[in-house]
Structures are given as C-alpha cells and as structure tokens.
Amino acid sequence: MVRIQTGLPLAEELVAVAASASGMLLTHVTVAETLKLITSAAKLSLPAAIGAGVTLLDANAHKTSTAFSDAVVERVDLAQYKLEQGPCLSAWATAETVVVNDIAQDTRWPLWSRAVSSLAVAASISAPLLSTGGEAFGAVKVYSNRTGSFDDRSRQILELLAAQAAVLILNAQTRENAERLSDDLQHALRTRDLIGMAKGLIMARHGVDEEGAIRHLIKESANSHLPLRTVSLGIIEAAAAQRS
C-alpha cells in the first residue's frame, strides 16, 4: 500500500500563524519598552510626582513584569507584593482607581504603611490597567512626597493615561506572543523536514512505505529514548558520511 500525502497539510493553521506574524513587522516595540514609556509619561503628567511605576499581574496577583522611574518607587512597590497588600493591589483587585492622601495615616493597608514609613513617600495614586473585557491586568501608580498631592483632576489624568497604556501593552504582548509562536513554528518546520528526510532514506533502504518508515523511526526512538528529531539527524548524518 502506498500512502503518500500530497498537498500542503494544515494550510489553515499556517495561514493563521503567518497572518499574526506579519503584524509584527509594523513596529518592534517590546512590552518592556512600552512599560518604560508609560512610566515616564505618568511621572511627567502629574506635577507632584516624585516617581511612577507600572506593574503587570497575572490572574493570581503574581507580578509578571514591571517598570519604575525611580528607585524609591521600586522599594515602595516591592513592599506591596511582599506583604500582599497596598493601593496598587487594591486598584487591580477592584478595577478602580485608588487615591491615598496620607500613606502614614491611612488604615487600609497597615503593614504596608508601616513598611514604607521610612521612605520619602507621602501620597499615592494607582489606576488599574483594564483589558477590553474590563478585567484588570495591572496598575499604573504615581507617588508624591507631599500629602494630599492627588485630587480628582489627577485621577482623571491618570485614568486617561492608563486607558492608553492598556492598549499599548496589550498590542505589545500580542506581538511578542506572535514572535514566540513564529520561532516555535520555525523549529517545528525544521524538525518536520529532518524527519521527512529520514523517512525517505528509510523507505529507500528498507523498501517500506511512508507509514512503515515512520514506525521504524518511532521504534528506534522508543528503544534509544531519543526524540525523533535526534534519531532522524543520526540517520541523515550517517547517510551524508557514506557519500563523502
């Protein structure tokens, strides 16, 4: 029985991958660069700011990536995630902007207020980053060294900025995922090539059909505990060595 496959298999899957990959060519801004950009924009847009930061969180409130304009922001922020409490986590959990007029006097996050009491921060404002579905996936925050620095106007500005930032971040993430997928696909196609070559060699050598050849390779892989790619490479290299 001869079972040769003709035509390109899985055209649909490959088209989808190619389409998502071509979007990357437009711009190459990474998630990390986007976060840095947002951080400086946030700091500049509120005059009372001494520093700003962005944090992305997964569904379990675990930090996935982060950017800071100043070292003090990093320390204040780290304390939140270590203690698992603080205004940014609240902004993320409630999907609402959180303003803290006086960090030392505020009673909502007692452990965090105490932990940062020695640092030069007195007030903060944190706006959630929302996906199109309205789910929070992180927060933008700005700190000040004067109490009562942030009012309704600051809230408006930061929320506008957060809305723009969310779009930028989601786009950058989509691009990075497409890039990763394209790397994985290249590796998969190369593996498929190598296995195809080895199949052909086995068919010629053992007079078997395509199915017999792949079964031969699988058996060899099971016996040697090596993946098909490695087994195939061995067969191809041996054949190449014979020729030379």
């Binding site: 029985m1 496959q5 298999p9 899985l10 649909e12 899957e13 994985d184 696909l185 590796h187 998969a188 196609l189 593996t191 498929r192 296995i195 195809g196 199949k199 053992h206 007079g207 078997v208 059909d209 199915e211 017999g212 792949i214 079964r215 031969h216 699988i218 058996k219 892989s221 099971a222 505990h225 090596l226 993946p227 098909l228 790619r229």
Partner: protein, 93 residues
C-alpha cells in the same frame, strides 16, 4: 465512526496528559513537527474521545507526548498502537 472509549492508548493518554502540562496548541505543534497531518481541532476532539484518528496519527500524538516527558525527565510513556509491536507493522521487505 463509532466512539471507542475502550481504546487503552487513548485512556492512558488522557490519564497522563495533565502531567505534561501542555495546552492543546502546544501539543498540536509538537505533533505537527513529527509529521502529523491532523488539524488542531481534530486533535482536541480526539483527546476528548469525540473523534477517531488513524493508528499512525494516534502514535504520533503519543510520540509527541512521550518526547515531552523525555524532555522533562519524567518516566511516563503513552503506549503505541499494537501495530508497532515487534514483528508487526512494517511492510514486507
């Protein structure tokens, strides 16, 4: 095609798949790399016993999962179809 819930290969695959921590998309790409020709949707349906695959395609799915376990140094293997047993499966020389 009739459902084949009694297929021991599929039963074992369904049992160990959670250990592999692979998404269907990741598993499909590995299977595709090995020369598999079924689409991602067919693989998903096969894993949930809603679709039958030819023995060779099933063995390539098993191989993809087994290679992942090799990578993880986990000593778990999905069995191959009976036509892979010694003395069978290979066409006459």
């Amino acid at each position: 095609m009739p459902r084949d819930d009694e297929d021991p290969q599929l039963r074992e695959l369904q049992r160990v798949l959670p250990l592999a921590k692979l998404t269907v998309g990741e598993l499909w790409l590995k299977y595709f790399a090995l020369g598999g020709s079924a689409g991602r949707f067919e693989i998903e349906a096969y894993l949930s016993s809603a679709h039958l695959l030819p023995p060779l395609e099933r063995d390539l799915v098993a191989q993809a999962v087994n290679e992942h376990f090799m990578d993880l140094s986990v000593d778990v293997r999905v069995p191959y179809s009976s036509s892979l047993e010694p003395g069978e499966g290979e066409s006459p020389k």
